[in-house]
């Protein structure tokens, strides 16, 4: 199946099958005016199945969010029908204001003006800890 070629835009490739919708929502793609295509369960040689998202406009993306949720994603930026940039994501060293610390004893719970910040402590286990109280990051975002 082929979905129309993009002239200017972004293709998020190699999304873990089944996570496309979650990423679509987290990036707020529902709010865009331009064409957005979500492809579920596309065939992939290396992954078996994958999801793909095509956005018909070059928008600012929060690579930290993407890297945290699904570090295997490839981001392709297309201008004038040509691939101008391909980025392989990795786990971000720090994540700011994306995950909220759930520890009621953490200073971020009582002072709202402090931004939530998590630090990657173990890339193998994909383990992040709160910069302030060192609590483990909750597995679900938000």
């Amino acid at each position: 199946m082929i979905i129309g070629q993009i002239r200017d835009g972004i293709v998020l490739d190699h999304i873990t099958a089944g996570r496309g919708i979650e990423i679509y929502e987290l990036l707020g793609l529902d709010k865009l005016e331009c064409t957005v295509a979500m492809i579920k369960n596309a065939e992939s040689e290396k992954m078996g199945k994958k999801d793909i998202i095509k956005v018909g406009q070059v928008i600012d993306l929060n690579f930290d969010i993407l890297g945290y949720i699904d570090p295997g994603i490839t981001v392709n930026i297309i201008r004038d029908g040509k691939l101008v940039k391909r980025e392989h994501l990795s786990l971000p060293e720090r994540i700011k204001n994306l995950i909220v610390c759930k520890n009621p004893r953490c200073i971020t719970s009582s002072e709202r003006s402090i931004q939530h910040e998590f630090v990657l402590v173990d890339p193998e286990k994909k383990l992040y800890r709160c910069l302030y109280c060192e609590s483990e990051a909750p597995k679900n975002i938000g």
Partner: protein, 305 residues
């Protein structure tokens, strides 16, 4: 500018420098009595801890400096809703160094980001208390003549006890260290201490339930309190509480050189009869707490004597 928020902020070499300075202060206190003349230290205690506060105040007094501050949040502007950042910005424009205790974890880190002067964490909730750990390290060094090749027993509440977690983290950096973790099943050391600290460095440890049986192997016995409120039911607490009370009887098979430490205050986990035995080091530990804090204040202020 340096702060002390977490014991891991200090390298092994820096800790050794602090220990050497503290040892020199103990031997030659008069040499240091005017070292911090005209310097001011603020003790900002957003939650009360008389022992820790007095230790810092006495340390600064013995360096010839001055002290100001508050001892509970009710008497500070926090009670009116001021943020940590605002309080610190105000205070750091008056003084040369800040000592801070706060019930919320991470508050001293927030303070260090806005402060114009060094910040020392004097305890943030159940999280860090690095000057207690420095006190423990100085005590072990002075009792044992070094920090290597020791079998260290930690007894009591190993699950929630932050002093235990920091001491394990700090001692794991020395060679030939072995830990014996003595606690009831319910209060064992958290998994992350094993997987993040002990296992990556291949540090031998065993988890046991009996204090009495472990004592003959130990060079250091670090006692902590088993708090009633940590237990799910009263019956378990009643069953276990005496098991973790140190008495002269339990010490009968101890090595002659065993040193018993306790971060104090104690409730009943070390019977007062132990105080007069040669094993008891916890009163010297209190004094050491003042000397290592003096060394730390000098280091962070960049004062050389």
């Amino acid at each position: 500018m340096r702060h002390l928020i977490d014991i891991k902020d200090l390298s092994v070499d820096e800790i050794m420098d602090l220990i050497q300075t503290a040892n020199d202060i103990i031997e030659n206190p008069e040499k240091y009595q005017n070292a911090c003349q005209y310097k001011q230290l603020a003790t900002l205690f957003f939650e009360p801890s008389t022992r820790t506060r007095l230790s810092f105040e006495s340390a600064m007094n013995s360096l010839g400096g001055k002290v100001l501050g508050f001892s509970e949040a009710a008497s500070s502007s926090t009670a009116k809703g001021e943020t940590v950042a605002d309080t610190i910005q105000t205070v750091s424009s008056y003084v040369d160094i800040i000592v801070m205790r706060h019930p919320k974890e991470g508050a001293p880190l927030v303070a260090s980001r806005v402060s114009e002067v060094p910040v020392i964490n004097a305890g943030d909730g159940g999280h860090n208390h690095p000057t207690q750990t420095l006190t423990d390290l100085l005590t072990i060094y002075r009792e044992k003549g070094g920090l290597d090749n020791l079998t260290i027993g930690l007894c009591g509440d190993l699950k929630f006890g932050r002093t235990v977690h920091s001491l394990i983290t700090a001692m794991s950096r020395y060679s030939g260290i072995k830990f014996v973790l003595i606690s009831p099943e319910e209060l064992r050391i958290p998994q992350y201490i094993k997987s993040d600290v002990l296992e990556p460095r291949n540090i031998p440890y065993e988890e046991v339930a009996s204090l009495e049986d472990s004592i003959p192997d130990l060079d250091i016995l670090y006692m902590t309190r088993v708090q009633r409120e940590r237990f799910f039911n009263e019956a378990d607490y009643m069953r276990l509480k005496d098991t973790y009370i140190l008495t002269p009887d339990k010490l009968k098979n101890a090595k002659d050189s065993l040193s018993v430490l306790h971060p104090l205050p104690r409730v009943n986990e070390i019977s007062t009869e132990v105080d007069s035995t040669p094993y008891a080091c916890y009163m010297r530990q209190v004094k050491n707490g003042k000397f290592i804090r003096m060394a730390l204040i000098l280091k962070l202020l960049g004062v050389t004597v």
